[in-house]
C-alpha cells in the first residue's frame, strides 16, 4: 500500500518524511518536481504520477503537497482519501494544518502517522480513538505533563477500538450535556450572463457537536426528508433505519463530526437568493456591478464577497463602491469586492473603469464568483423535526442552527 509519505511546502522543501516500509529515498520527489515545473498551477498537478519504480499519489492542501509513495497496484482513491483523512486529523488535533504547525508538533505528527498506518495499511483513523491513544497537545496538558511526568501517549488500548461502536470512546462524562446540530446548505449555481440559471443545486451537510455523557443513542427526524436526492452518512448512522423510516438513528462519536451530507439536485427547483447586475465593456473598460437579494424569505444576506478573476491583460482598475471595500491585486489580477450585508433600501454598487493593454483582451469574459451567507434559513426548506435520546437518563440540551451559504456560485459575464 503506502510506502512512504513526503510533505512538501510551497517552496519545494521536503520538510517531513515518514516511511512505513523500507526507506524510499527522497530523490523520488524529483519526479514530482519535474511535473510541477511542467505544470504551472499546483491545482493541476495530476493526482497520480507514475515513475519507473514508484507511483506518487499526491494531494494539495493548505499550500502543502502530501505525497504518498506506492509501489504496487492500489486504488488511487483509497490513498487520496487516506491522505485527506491525515490532513483532517491534523486539523482536528492542531485546529489548523500549516507547515509551521506541523513542524512545531512534529513528535505528535510522527506518532499519529505511526498509529494511522501499519505497513502502509490504515490501522486507526477514527478521531475518537486516536485522541485516546495520543492526546492532542494543549498548553494545560503540556504543563501538567511536565509537572507530573505523564506522557501524551496512552498505555492502554482505547476501549472503543474493540467495541461495536469503534468511533466512540467510552467513559465520556460531561456536566452539561449538549448536542448542537448545524444544518449548512451550500448553493452551487451557474448563472449565465442574462441572469437565468443554467444550473443550480444544493449541497447540504449536518455538522454536529455532541457532548453527551455515556452511550447516548440519538434519533433525528426531519419534517421533509423527501427532499434529499442523495445522502451520505458518517459510519455511525444506521442505514437500515434510514432506508425504512427516513430517520437518522446513531450513537454519535464524542465531539465534532459530520453526521451526514446530502445533495438536492438539479431536478428540484433551487431558490437563488442573490442576483448581480453586471456590465463590462472592454472598449472603454467600464465596469458596473449591482448586487441585490432575491428569494430570501425576508432574511438578510450577509458576508457578501464578490470576486472577479480578471484576464491577464488587465493592468489596473479605478472603481468606486458605495458600500464595503474593494481591492485589485495587480499580480494575480483578482478583483475582490467585500460587500458585507446587503441593505435592501440602498443596493450596493461598484462602478468605474478597468484599464487593460489595448486591443488584446479579445472576447474572453471573466466569471464572477459570489460568496454569501444567510443565517437561520436552509434554502431547501429542510427542517429538523425532533431529536430524541435513548439509553441515558439525563436531559440533554439540544440546538439546531440553519445556515445557507454560497458554494460554487458563479455568474458568467
Amino acid at each position: 500500500m503506502i510506502h512512504s509519505l513526503f510533505i512538501i511546502n510551497s517552496s519545494g522543501d521536503v520538510f517531513m518524511e515518514k516511511h512505513w516500509k523500507s526507506v524510499v529515498s527522497r530523490s523520488v520527489c524529483d519526479y514530482f518536481f519535474d511535473e510541477q515545473r511542467k505544470i504551472g498551477s499546483p491545482e493541476d498537478i495530476p493526482a497520480v504520477i507514475p515513475t519507473p519504480h514508484h507511483y506518487l499519489i499526491s494531494i494539495y492542501r493548505s499550500s502543502m503537497f502530501f505525497i504518498a509513495v506506492c509501489m504496487t497496484e492500489v486504488p488511487p482513491l483509497f490513498v487520496i482519501e487516506f491522505l485527506h483523512r491525515v490532513v483532517d486529523t491534523f486539523d482536528d488535533y492542531f485546529t489548523e494544518c500549516t507547515e509551521s504547525i506541523i513542524k512545531e508538533n512534529y513528535v505528535v505528527v510522527y506518532e499519529l502517522l505511526d498509529e494511522m498506518l501499519d505497513n502502509g495499511f490504515p490501522l486507526a483513523t477514527e478521531s475518537n480513538i486516536l485522541k485516546e491513544l495520543i492526546k492532542p497537545p494543549n498548553l494545560l496538558r503540556t504543563i501538567a505533563n511536565t509537572v507530573t511526568g505523564k506522557s501524551n501517549v496512552s498505555a492502554t488500548l482505547p476501549s472503543g477500538q474493540l467495541s461495536n461502536v469503534p468511533w466512540r470512546r467510552t467513559g465520556v462524562k460531561y456536566t452539561n450535556n449538549e448536542a448542537y446540530f448545524d444544518v449548512v446548505e451550500e448553493v452551487d449555481a451557474i448563472i449565465d450572463k442574462s441572469g437565468s440559471t443554467v444550473f443550480a443545486e444544493i449541497q447540504g451537510y449536518i455538522d454536529c457537536c455532541i457532548k453527551l455523557s455515556g452511550m447516548p443513542d440519538l434519533t433525528l427526524s426531519f419534517m421533509n426528508a423527501r427532499l434529499f436526492d442523495d445522502v451520505s452518512f458518517h459510519p455511525c448512522v444506521r442505514f437500515k433505519r434510514w432506508e425504512s423510516e427516513r430517520i437518522l438513528s446513531f450513537i454519535p462519536p464524542d465531539g465534532n463530526m459530520r453526521l451526514m451530507s446530502y445533495h438536492i439536485g438539479s431536478q428540484s427547483i433551487v431558490a437563488i437568493p442573490i442576483y448581480v447586475r453586471h456590465s463590462l465593456n472592454w472598449k472603454d473598460g467600464r465596469l458596473d456591478l449591482t448586487v441585490g437579494p432575491k428569494q430570501t424569505i425576508g432574511r438578510t444576506v450577509e458576508n457578501v464577497v464578490i470576486e472577479i478573476p480578471m484576464p491577464k491583460t488587465v493592468t489596473n482598475s479605478v472603481l468606486i463602491c458605495n458600500q464595503g471595500k474593494y481591492s485589485f491585486d495587480p499580480v494575480s489580477r483578482l478583483l475582490v469586492w467585500d460587500v458585507g450585508r446587503i441593505d435592501t433600501t440602498k443596493l450596493p454598487n461598484l462602478q468605474g473603469t478597468v484599464t487593460s493593454v489595448t486591443g488584446s483582451t479579445g472576447d474572453s469574459k471573466p466569471t464572477i464568483s459570489v460568496k454569501f451567507t444567510i443565517n437561520q434559513m436552509a434554502v431547501s426548506g429542510l427542517k429538523v423535526n425532533r431529536l430524541d435520546m435513548y439509553g441515558e437518563k439525563y436531559k440533554p440540551f439540544k440546538g439546531v442552527k440553519y445556515i445557507t451559504k454560497a458554494g460554487k456560485f458563479q455568474i458568467r459575464m
Binding site: 515518514k18 494539495y60 487520496i80 501499519d118 472576447d363
Partner: protein, 1066 residues
C-alpha cells in the same frame, strides 16, 4: 521561521540544554564534524541518563532528525538500550526509531528482540499488539522464525486487536521472506474465518497481498464477509469489495449473459430504454441471479452512501463489473455526489465516469448539468468534464451542450478553449443532425480575435470537412484567406493540407497560396514546410502548367533545408514529379497515390475503445482494467495488478460456500496447526520427549475421572462467567474458554486439565491475558497452560548469530497458542504444568493496621497461599479484624482510589458489625501483576477510616506447580543468561531443613529428588504464569549452598534469590 526545516521543539532545547549547536550545519562549513560530534555526544548522554524527561527530549530530537530525513543511525546503540524503558512515550519513539533503522543495523537490532518477545506475553493487549507490530516491522531476515511464531500465536490471541495486528504482520513477513508463504497461508485462512469486523478487513488485506490466487480460501467465508461488510471499517470495506469483485467474476455467471447483446443500449435515446429492457426482461424470465451473487450486491449497496469516496468507488466498480445491466445505474447518483469532494477525488472519479459514460450513456444523462464546467475548476478537471459532456451528447441534449461549449470558448484558459473546440468537433462528427450547425459555429470562430481559437478551429474544421468537402467550398475559400493572418503552425499546415486535398474545388486560389508560401518558405515552421511540399506535389499533379516553376523552386529550397526530414521528404517527393530517369514507374501512378480519397478521421473520446484493428495486443486498453484501480486510472499495467477474470461459462459449484451449521468441536485444526508449526522449526528429534513422557503420564491417568467430574461443574460455571464477561469484551469474538478446575480442598491431589471447545475450535483463550475477563472458577480455579515442545533449536540459531544475546524464552506458544487437550494425547501430559496445593501455609500474621492508627481496631494479614475465588490470578490475603476498643465498629468496608497499573484488587465482603473485643476474618484478592509494589487502600467504618499499605514479598507471588523432572531440566535450559540468578552462600542451618525453609519463604513445589543434595522447586508467577525454577545444591558437608533461580521475569528471579538467600544466612 527558520527555513532549514528545523522543528520548533528542537530549538528550544538547544538553547536550553546543549548550548549553541548548529543544526543546519552545512557539510562544507568547517565546524561540521565538530558540531556533529558534539550533538550526538550530547544526545547519547541524554539517552544514558536515568531521567525519563531527558530521554524523552533526546528521543524527540532524534525523531525530528528522522522526520527531516537526516541520518541518525549512529545513535542506534544508545537508542536501542531504551527499548526497555518504562515510559510509554519514550518506548513508542524508540519503536519508531527502531523500525526506521533496524534494517541498517541488523546485529544491534537483535538486542531488542527479547524485549518484544517478552512484551508479546504482556497482559496488556496494546503492548502485545505494538510489540508484534514492531517486531514484524524490523526487517531483519534472521528473525523470520521468531516473527513467524509470534504471528501464529497472535493470530489466535484473545484480543481482536492483536489478531488484527497479526494480519498486518503477515505481508511484512511475506515481503521479508517469501519462502514462508505456505505457512502464512494457513494463518491467513485462520484469520479469514474470524468473525470480528476489526480483523476481517486486515485478514482480507493479507490475503490480497500474499495469496490472491488462492480463491478457494474465500468460499467458506464469502457469506460471512458479505454480511459483515457494512460494519467493517472503511479501509477494510474497500479491500474486501475489490477482492469480492474478483471472486464474483470467477464464481458466478455473467448476469447479462443471454440478454440480447444490447451493448448499444447507450446508443439509443434515453427514453427508449425502459420499454426495451422491459421487453428483455419478459423475454428472459428464466435467468435469475445466484443467491450469493445477489447477497453480495445487496450488502454492498448501502455502502454507496459512505462518506468515503474510495468505498463508493469500490461499490461502483463492483456494480459496473458484476451487476445485471439494469441495476448498474444506481451508482450514478453516488458518483455524482463525489464530484463535490476534493480536487484529487474529482479527478479520479471523473476519469472513471468518462470511461463509464462511453459504455453506459444513460447513467449520467439525468445529471448532465453536473458536468458543466466552472471557471474555478483546475484545467485537467475541465478537460475531463468536456470529455464526458461530449460522450453524453445525444440529439436531445446537444443543443444545451453546444450552448455551454459556446461560453467555454470565451474562457481565458487557452488549453481549455482548445479542448472545447475539439469537443465541438467531436459532437459535430458524432451527431449528424448538428454537423452543419457546429461547422458554421466553428467557421464563425475563424474570425475570432484570439489566434489560438482560430488555429484550433481550423484543425477541427479540417477534420470535419473531410467527411463531405464538396458542400463546403466557401469554407475552404475563407480558410485560404486566413493564410495571410494566421501564424499558428498547426493551423497553417491544416489549411495547406485542405487546399491540397481539395484543390479542384478552389482551382484559382490554391496556386496563389502556394506562390505566397514559396516566398515565405524559409521562415516557416517544419510542419508547415512539409505541407507546402505536399501541396505543391498535389497541385503539380492537377495543374502542372501553372505550378511547375513554383514546384521546382520550392523543392530546391527544401533540398538545402536545415532539417533532414524536409530534405528527405523533398528527395522522396521529387521522384514522383520530376523523375530523374524515365523508367520510373512510380511517377505513372503518382496521381493515384496522392489524390486517392482519404477516409474521414474518427473523432473519438480518449476514453472510447480504440477500434479493434488499431488496438495492438501488447497494449490492452482501459476496458480490460478493473475500474477504479491504479492501472485503470493510468491506463497502464501497474505492478501487482491482478486481471479481472471473465465470467465463467458455467458457475462453479456454489455449495463450496456452504458453511456447516455446527462445526464439530474438533481438535484437528489445532493439531494440524501444531503439526505445521513443528514442521518448520523442529527437526525430527523433537519427537523424542513426547515418547519419553508417555510413561510418566500413566501416573496421571487417575485424574481423568476427576476431570470429568469437574467438567460438569465447569459447564455450569461457564455460563455464568460468560454472562459476566460479555460486557467487557467484544461480544462478537468467539471465545473459547479453557478452564482447569482443581479441587484441592477435597483431595489435595493434583488433577489434570480439561478443555472446553466452543464452536470453532479456531481460537483459544489464554487465561493469563484475560484480565479484562474475570472468570469465576469454583471452588478454586487455576489455569494450566501447557508448555509447547521446546523451541530450543530456534534459540540455538539465534545464539549462533549473537552469542552474547540475553535469551528470553521464545516459548510464546506456552501462553498464546491453543492448548492441546490433555485427554487426547500423551504429549500433553508430559509437558503440563499442574498446579498443586501449597506445601506449607504460614499461620503467622503480619500487621496491616495497628490499633493505634485504627483507633482501636487492628488488622492483620496472612497469605493463605490459596488462589482467590474471584480470579485465579489473585492472591488470597486473609485479613483479621480485631476490635480492641470497647465500642463496636460498624459497617467496615474498604475502598481504593488508584491502583498501580496492572494491579487488581477484589475487596472483602463488608462487615456489618465488629463487636467489642471480637475479631472477624475477611479476605481480599489481589492480583499484583507480578510486582512487589505496595498497594494502598482505605479501610472505612462508620465513624472513620484509615489508609493501609499492603506489600507482598515476592515469594508469595507464586503458586506451586508440579512439573516433570525432564521438563524442569528442559525449561531451565531455556532460562539461562539473564534469566538465571545464582549465588553461593554458607548456611547456618542444617541441610535437612532446606525444603521447609524454602517453603516458608515462597510457595513452590518440591520435585521428587533425583539426585541427592540437589533440591528442585517449581512454581509459577500468579499473573503471567511464568515458570519459576529454584534449584538448591548443597555440598556434601553442607558447608556451602548454591541457590539458582531461573525465571523469565528477571526482577522476580533476583528478588526471590535474595529472599531465599537470607533464610540460609540467618
Amino acid at each position: 521561521m527558520n527555513n532549514n526545516g528545523s522543528y520548533g521543539n528542537e530549538r528550544s532545547i538547544s538553547s536550553g540544554g546543549a548550548g549553541d549547536i548548529d543544526y543546519a550545519s552545512d557539510p562544507a562549513s568547517g565546524g561540521f564534524f565538530n558540531s556533529d560530534y558534539k550533538k550526538h555526544d550530547d544526545l547519547k548522554q541524554m539517552l544514558d541518563t536515568n531521567k525519563d524527561g531527558l530521554k524523552l527530549e533526546a528521543m524527540k530530537r532524534i525523531i525530528g532528525m528522522i522526520a527531516k530525513g537526516r541520518d541518525a543511525s549512529e545513535l542506534f546503540p544508545a537508542v536501542v538500550k531504551n527499548v526497555v524503558s518504562k515510559n510509554i512515550e519514550v518506548k513508542k519513539l524508540v519503536y519508531v526509531y527502531l523500525v526506521r533503522y533496524a534494517e541498517e543495523q541488523q546485529d544491534l537490532a537483535l538486542l531488542s528482540i527479547s524485549t518484544f518477545q517478552r512484551a508479546l506475553k504482556d497482559p496488556n493487549q496494546l503492548i502485545r499488539a505494538s510489540a508484534l507490530r514492531v517486531l514484524s516491522s524490523i526487517r531483519v531476515p534472521v528473525i523470520v522464525p521468531i516473527v513467524m511464531l509470534a504471528i501464529k500465536d497472535s493470530a489466535s490471541d484473545m484480543s481482536p486487536y492483536v489478531r488484527k495486528t497479526a494480519a498486518h504482520a503477515i505481508p511484512k513477513l511475506y515481503s521479508l521472506d517469501p519462502e514462508q508463504k505456505d505457512e502464512l497461508v494457513h494463518v491467513i485462512e485462520k484469520l479469514l474465518s474470524d468473525k470480528t469486523t476489526l480483523v476481517v478487513g486486515s485478514a482480507v488485506m493479507a490475503f490480497e497481498e500474499v495469496c490472491p490466487e488462492k480463491i478457494s480460501l474465500i468460499h467458506k467465508n464469502f457469506r460471512k464477509l458479505c454480511n459483515l461488510l457494512v460494519d467493517v471499517d472503511e479501509w477494510g470495506q474497500v479491500i474486501i469489495i475489490n477482492m469480492l469483485t474478483r471472486y464474483a467474476r470467477t464464481q458466478f455467471v455473467d448476469p447479462n449473459k443471454g440478454m440480447i447483446d444490447s451493448y448499444d443500449e447507450s446508443e439509443r435515446p434515453f427514453y427508449d430504454d425502459e420499454e426495451e429492457s422491459e421487453d428483455l426482461k419478459n423475454k428472459k424470465p428464466s435467468f435469475s441471479l445466484d443467491t450469493d451473487h445477489r447477497l453480495l450486491l445487496k450488502n454492498a449497496k448501502p455502502l454507496l452512501q459512505s462518506r468515503n469516496a474510495a468505498v463508493v468507488m469500490a461499490v461502483a466498480q463492483l456494480y459496473h463489473h458484476c451487476a445485471p445491466r439494469n441495476e448498474v445505474s444506481i451508482i450514478g447518483k453516488s458518483l455524482i455526489r463525489l464530484l463535490r469532494s476534493h480536487r484529487e477525488v474529482q479527478s479520479v472519479v471523473l476519469n472513471c465516469m468518462a470511461y463509464i459514460s462511453v459504455q453506459r450513456k444513460g447513467m449520467f444523462e439525468p445529471y448532465l448539468k453536473s458536468f458543466f464546467v466552472r471557471t474555478s475548476d483546475p484545467t485537467h478537471i475541465k478537460l475531463l468534464k468536456l470529455d464526458i459532456l461530449t460522450n453524453l451528447a445525444t440529439e436531445t441534449s446537444i443543443s444545451v451542450i453546444l450552448r455551454e461549449f459556446q461560453t467555454y470558448v470565451s474562457s481565458p484558459d487557452k488549453e481549455f478553449v482548445a479542448a472545447a473546440i475539439q469537443a465541438i468537433g467531436r459532437c459535430a462528427s458524432n451527431i449528424k443532425e448538428v454537423t452543419d450547425t457546429c461547422l458554421n459555429g466553428l467557421v464563425s470562430m475563424l474570425s475570432n480575435r484570439d489566434e489560438a481559437v482560430v488555429a484550433e478551429s481550423v484543425v477541427v474544421i479540417k477534420k470535419l470537412l473531410q467527411s463531405q468537402p464538396s458542400r463546403h467550398r466557401d469554407i475552404i475559400q475563407s480558410m485560404a484567406k486566413l493564410m495571410d493572418t494566421i501564424t499558428v503552425p498547426a493551423a497553417r499546415a491544416s489549411i495547406l493540407w485542405l487546399l491540397g486535398e481539395y484543390s479542384e474545388l478552389v482551382p484559382n486560389i490554391a496556386p496563389d497560396v502556394l506562390r505566397k508560401l514559396a516566398k515565405s518558405f524559409v521562415s516557416e515552421e517544419d510542419i508547415v514546410k512539409l505541407q507546402v511540399l505536399n501541396l505543391s506535389v498535389k497541385l503539380y499533379l492537377n495543374n502542372p502548367s501553372q505550378t511547375q516553376l513554383l514546384c521546382q523552386y520550392v523543392f530546391t529550397l527544401a533540398r538545402y533545408d536545415q532539417n533532414y526530414d524536409i530534405r528527405d521528404r523533398s528527395r522522396f517527393l521529387r521522384q514522383f514529379i520530376f523523375p530523374t530517369n524515365n523508367e520510373n514507374n512510380l511517377a505513372k501512378f503518382s496521381k493515384k497515390i496522392f489524390l486517392a480519397s482519404k477516409p474521414a478521421p474518427l473523432l473519438v473520446s480518449r476514453f472510447k475503445d480504440t477500434p479493434i484493428n488499431v488496438r495492438t495486443l501488447c497494449e490492452p486498453d482501459r476496458e480490460s482494467y478493473q475500474m477504479g484501480s491504479l492501472s485503470h486510472y493510468l491506463n497502464m499495467r501497474a505492478s501487482g495488478y491482478h486481471d479481472l477474470p471473465n465470467f465463467p461459462e458455467v458457475a462453479p459449484d456454489s455449495s463450496a460456500r456452504n458453511v456447516a451449521e455446527i462445526p464439530s468441536p474438533s481438535p484437528p485444526p489445532i493439531s494440524s496447526k501444531k503439526e505445521s508449526k513443528n514442521r518448520s522449526f523442529y527437526s525430527e528429534s523433537d519427537s523424542s520427549p513426547v515418547d519419553e513422557d508417555s510413561d510418566s503420564s500413566e501416573g496421571d491417568s487417575d485424574d481423568d475421572d476427576g476431570n470429568e467430574k469437574s467438567n460438569d461443574e465447569e459447564s455450569s460455571s461457564d455460563d455464568s462467567s460468560d454472562d459476566d464477561s460479555d460486557s467487557s469484551d467484544d461480544s462478537q469474538s468467539q471465545i473459547e474458554i479453557r478452564k482447569v478446575i482443581k479441587n484441592d480442598e477435597i483431595d489435595g491431589e493434583d488433577s489434570g486439565s480439561d478443555s472446553d471447545d466452543s464452536s470453532d475450535g479456531s481460537s483459544s483463550d489464554d487465561t493469563d491475558s484475560s484480565e479484562e475477563k474475570p472468570q469465576v472458577a469454583k471452588p478454586a480455579g487455576k489455569s494450566v497452560p501447557s508448555k509447547p515442545v521446546s523451541n530450543l533449536d530456534l534459540l540455538l540459531d539465534l545464539d549462533d548469530v549473537v552469542p552474547n544475546l540475553p535469551i528470553m524464552t521464545p516459548s510464546l506458544g506456552g501462553f498464546l497458542s491453543p492448548l492441546t487437550p490433555s485427554l487426547t494425547g500423551a504429549s500433553s501430559t508430559m509437558n503440563s504444568v499442574l498446579p498443586v496445593g501449597p506445601s506449607f501455609t504460614s499461620s503467622k500474621y503480619f500487621e496491616v493496621l495497628s490499633k493505634i492508627v485504627g483507633r482501636g481496631m487492628s488488622v492483620e494479614g496472612r497469605f493463605t497461599r490459596q488462589p482467590h475465588l474471584f480470579s485465579p490470578k489473585m492472591l488470597n490475603v486473609e485479613l483479621k479484624f480485631t476490635n480492641h476498643s470497647s465500642e463496636p465498629f460498624e459497617e467496615i468496608s474498604m475502598s481504593f482510589q488508584k491502583l498501580p497499573p496492572g494491579v487488581k484488587l477484589h475487596e472483602f465482603a463488608p462487615i456489618a458489625c465488629l463487636p467489642q473485643h471480637g475479631s472477624l476474618i475477611g479476605s481480599i484478592g489481589v492480583d499484583w501483576n507480578d510486582s512487589t509494589q505496595p498497594l494502598n487502600f482505605d479501610i472505612n467504618w462508620r465513624d472513620g477510616s484509615a489508609s493501609v499499605t499492603l506489600k507482598s514479598p515476592v515469594g508469595e507471588l507464586l503458586r506451586a506447580v508440579k512439573v516433570s523432572h525432564t521438563m524442569f531440566i528442559e525449561e531451565q535450559g531455556k532460562l539461562r543468561g539473564m534469566n538465571e540468578h545464582s549465588e553461593k552462600v554458607s548456611p547456618s542451618k542444617p541441610v535437612a531443613k532446606i525444603p521447609e525453609s524454602v517453603f516458608e519463604v515462597t510457595n513452590v513445589f518440591l520435585l521428587p529428588a533425583v539426585e541427592p543434595n540437589i533440591y528442585r522447586f517449581s512454581g509459577q508467577t500468579m499473573a503471567s504464569n511464568s515458570l519459576v525454577l529454584v534449584t538448591i545444591k548443597t555440598t556434601a558437608d553442607a558447608g556451602e549452598v548454591e541457590v539458582i533461580v531461573n525465571c523469565e521475569k528477571m526482577v522476580v528471579g533476583s528478588l526471590l534469590l535474595r529472599e531465599i538467600k537470607t533464610i540460609f544466612l540467618n
